[in-house]
């Protein structure tokens, strides 16, 4: 029974943001299904994906909200930043304009999440090196200047996709460990599961009152 669907200790909320067509939905799909969607329609509003991963021996469930990059959904998608523990900002290495918009995405991410939110920059479509429009060094410099983690990845080949999602979780987990992330704040985007060995704990009156998993998803 220990391999059941609820066998995890934390839930982390992620958001994926960035211009339209940079491959946000493809990255999510690659991460959750390990497949590449060659002709992925534009996202309408937001989409949702989930996967359980392991960090330092702890099972963690990622709840990932993939937002629409189209400008017209900006008002809607902004409401989904709230309470994200991780934010993945994506640009397309073959389209400079998507890189140029990063600062606006970053501003949104900073303004609408909390100070502990781990922001990860991903240059997607690294498989299309021949059409590259943004150099690695330039993006790396931008990331360093803004204190972001950075990798180039490809939703097509899967390169670095896993790493980016896991690395983000690892950083969040570190914040929990060193106490800088307050688990009781719904804004933190992290929930601790009641307990794994729990018929007893769960049936006690106080645990029943506030089942954290139901509150900030």
């Amino acid at each position: 029974m220990s391999s059941g669907p609820y066998n995890y200790s934390y839930i982390f909320k992620y958001i994926i943001i960035g211009d339209m067509g940079v491959g946000k939905s493809c990255l999510l799909h690659q991460f959750t299904e390990k497949k590449f969607m060659a002709d992925c329609p534009h996202t309408i509003g937001v989409e949702f994906g989930t996967r359980i991963i392991e960090v330092s021996g702890q099972k963690i469930k990622l709840q990932i909200w993939d937002t629409a990059g189209q400008e017209r959904f900006r008002a809607v998608t902004r409401s989904y930043y709230r309470g994200a523990a991780g934010a993945l900002i994506i640009y397309d290495i073959t389209r400079r304009s998507t890189y140029n918009h990063l600062s606006s995405w970053l501003t949104d991410a900073r303004n609408l999440t909390n100070p502990n939110t781990v922001i990860f920059l991903i240059g997607n479509k690294s498989d299309l090196d021949a059409q590259r429009d943004v150099t690695y060094d330039e993006a790396k410099k931008f990331a360093d200047e803004n204190g972001l983690k950075f990798v180039e990845a490809s939703a097509k080949t899967g390169e670095n996709v896993e790493e980016a999602f896991l690395e983000t979780a690892k950083k969040i987990y570190e914040s929990i460990q060193d106490g800088s992330l307050d688990l009781n704040a719904a804004e933190s985007g992290v929930q601790k599961k009641p307990t794994a060995n729990g018929a007893r704990t769960l049936s006690s009156e106080n645990a029943e009152g506030r089942n954290p998993s139901s509150c900030s998803c």
Binding site: S79, N184, A186, C217
Partner: protein, 634 residues
């Protein structure tokens, strides 16, 4: 001397002595030597003589003794033999009796064997019967162990275990078996078992139900989720029980959800609440609330999916959606109160527009997830409230602005109210157009048509060229604004055709003005009159008049603007102005061509070289810069 012969004999004897080897003799001698004892050897010869017969007696006695001994021995032997005989007889008797016994026991063994084989066959029969009985029991009865498990399990049991479910399955199996039994014809037994099992089945179901109901809220507990799922799958045969459990679950989740929603709104402890944003940014406030609700859905769905994963006899998807609806419906009231309050709080049109679109987005989103839910109904209602309010408000605002509309001054510039309304429209379209072109069209209509009709009203009160210029100015301003938006073709086309007709009117007025300015209206009449006499003799067409005409033409070419109708200067759009001018010049050029043709016709008797310019050159010089302007404008 008497001794002599004896001694003689003895010596002779000794001298004749030979070592005899006859064994018999040796034995006899040694026998004899025993007869004489040692004392005998020491006897004096007299006594020895005296004793000589004694030896014989002795030997005879010895012999008799031997015989006696022999007789004794023989007697003993005889006794022994007799004893043996009697023993043997006894033995014989025993043997005989044994033989009889044996014969008897042989018989009885045979009997036993018979018996054993009989028993064996009996045993076999019994075994078969026992197996039958066991099979019967297995098929139709619970074991004591089963009953015990059933008895000791209740809703306080921490976890319903595998064994319990096995017992439950056994009961169900027995019930199926009984059905067969009934068909085969064992009515009485079958009915009895059926009653019995029916009772047990109900008991077991009841126990599952009670247990599930008390634990169902803990579906997220990894140890319970599987057992709960299993329990619910067993409850499928009693839809009501399943429903009660799910009701219990939904009620619980529903109140949790409402509470978490309120927490998210107000913030608890150090949590920043959504409501903090409310005052500053009502659209975001509403967006955040709806996003919060939307984001709660996957979790509820996952829980329900896990809870119902073993249920194969119901429409799973339908059930999950129904339950989710029940859970989510909890927030309808608090959500409704807040949204309604915000919507009716007299917000600006652009904010209302944002809220309108936001609610619309969630109506569409929720429609796909929970097509039959109070949440959707509430949102739909709120949407229509919001939309109505917004449209009314917009209508009122436009009406109010239009009410302030004042007629133009002598410069015929458009009222600033047009600009104000257009920038309001621009604000609205910025948000609306990308997501809802239809709505954008409606908004454009709502804002522009009252203004356009007001413009027309005002224009109609103006004099002729003023009206055209004013209409062109105002409508152009609107049209230039609308041209940015790709969807406004119909409205824009209507405006354009109105502008075109005004431009045509202005053109003809300008042409009349031009012709009047040049004083050539009579020339035109004469040329059209098909006069027979040479034209050079007709007054007004004589060479002197033509010279004046040529001079005026030269001044027009030098300064085309000088012959514009004064109002045309107020046309704000240079393109329109040029167009009007060009139209009038075209007419001028056409008249010139007619004059020219008449002049070069020898029948009219004009001196040569009176018109130096050929019509083409004139047309080019008048209209060329116009085309330049045209290309610049477009």
């Amino acid at each position: 001397m008497s001794l002599e012969p004896d001694l003689q004999t003895a010596v002779n004897g000794i001298s004749n002595l030979r070592i005899t080897t006859d064994q018999k003799l040796l034995d006899g001698l040694s026998q004899l030597s025993n007869c004489a004892s040692k004392e005998d050897l020491h006897l004096s010869p007299i006594s020895r003589k005296k004793r000589r017969p004694d030896l014989k007696t002795l030997i005879e006695n010895q012999q008799i003794l031997y015989y006696k001994q022999f007789l004794g021995s023989i007697t003993e032997i005889r006794d022994g033999v007799e004893h043996l005989h009697s023993n043997l007889s006894d033995l014989n008797e025993i043997c005989e009796s044994m033989s009889t016994n044996l014969r008897a026991s042989k018989q009885s063994s045979r009997n036993l064997i018979d018996e054993i084989s009989k028993l064996e066959s009996e045993r076999k029969k019994l075994m078969v019967e026992k197996n039958l009985a066991q099979a019967y029991l297995n098929a139709f009865q619970l074991s004591g162990e089963d009953l015990k498990i059933l008895r000791t399990t209740d809703s306080s049991t921490a976890i319903l275990n595998e064994d319990f479910f096995k017992v439950f399955e056994r009961i169900q199996q027995i019930q199926t078996n009984v059905a067969i039994l009934l068909k085969v014809g064992h009515q009485a037994t079958a009915v009895e078992i059926m009653d019995q099992m029916g009772l047990l089945h109900e008991t077991a179901l009841e126990k599952i139900y009670r247990w599930a109901q008390s634990r169902v809220k803990h579906v997220e507990n990894p140890e319970l989720s599987d057992v709960l799922a299993k329990s619910l799958s067993y409850l499928q045969i009693r839809p009501m029980l399943l429903k009660y459990v799910l009701d219990e679950y939904c009620t619980h989740r529903r109140s949790l959800f409402v509470r978490s929603y309120i927490d998210a709104l107000t913030g608890a402890g150090n949590i920043k609440g959504i409501e903090l944003i409310g005052g500053a940014d009502p659209a975001r406030y509403i967006g955040d609330m709806l996003a919060f609700i939307h984001q709660s859905i996957p979790n509820e769905k996952e829980n329900l999916t896990i809870l119902l994963k073993h249920c194969n006899k119901i429409d799973l998807n339908d059930k999950i959606v129904t339950c989710m609806s029940t859970i989510m419906d909890g927030v309808c009231r608090p959500l409704n109160v807040r949204l309604e309050q915000t919507i009716l709080s007299g917000l600006d049109c652009p904010v209302m527009n944002k809220i309108d679109m936001c609610i619309k987005f969630y109506v569409e989103t929720i429609e796909q997830i929970l097509p039959v839910s109070n949440l959707l109904a509430t949102l739909t209602e709120l949407y229509s409230l919001c939309h109505q309010t917004f449209i009314n408000q917009l209508r009122c605002q436009v009406q109010a602005e239009v009410g302030e509309y004042r007629p133009p001054g002598p410069d015929l510039t458009p009222s600033p109210i047009i600009q104000a309304l257009l920038s309001l429209l621009g604000d609205l379209l910025k948000d609306t157009l990308p997501s809802s072109p239809e709505q954008a069209e409606i908004l454009i209509q709502l804002v522009t048509s009252p203004v356009v009709s007001q413009i027309n009203d005002v224009a109609n009160r103006l004099g002729s060229p003023d009206m055209g210029v004013y209409l062109c100015n105002c409508l152009n301003q609107i049209n230039i604004f609308l041209e940015i938006y790709p969807i406004t073709k119909t409205i824009s086309n209507t405006l354009k055709s109105q502008i075109d007709s005004q431009m045509d009117r202005l053109s003809s007025e300008q042409s009349s003005w031009l012709i009047a300015q040049l004083g050539i209206s009579h020339m035109y009449t004469i040329l059209n009159d098909k006069v027979e006499t040479p034209l050079s003799t007709v007054p007004g067409m004589d060479s002197a008049s033509l010279k004046i005409f040529v001079n005026k033409l030269d001044s027009v070419i030098n300064d085309p603007e000088s012959v514009l109708l004064p109002q045309i200067y107020h046309l704000s759009d240079t393109g329109t102005r040029k167009y009007v001018q060009q139209q009038s010049f075209r007419i001028l050029a056409a008249i010139y061509r007619k004059v020219y043709e008449a002049v070069i016709n020898p029948k009219n008797g004009y001196p040569s070289e009176i018109l130096k310019m050929d019509p083409k050159t004139l047309e080019d010089s008048l209209c060329s810069d116009t085309t330049e302007v045209d290309t610049k404008d477009t």
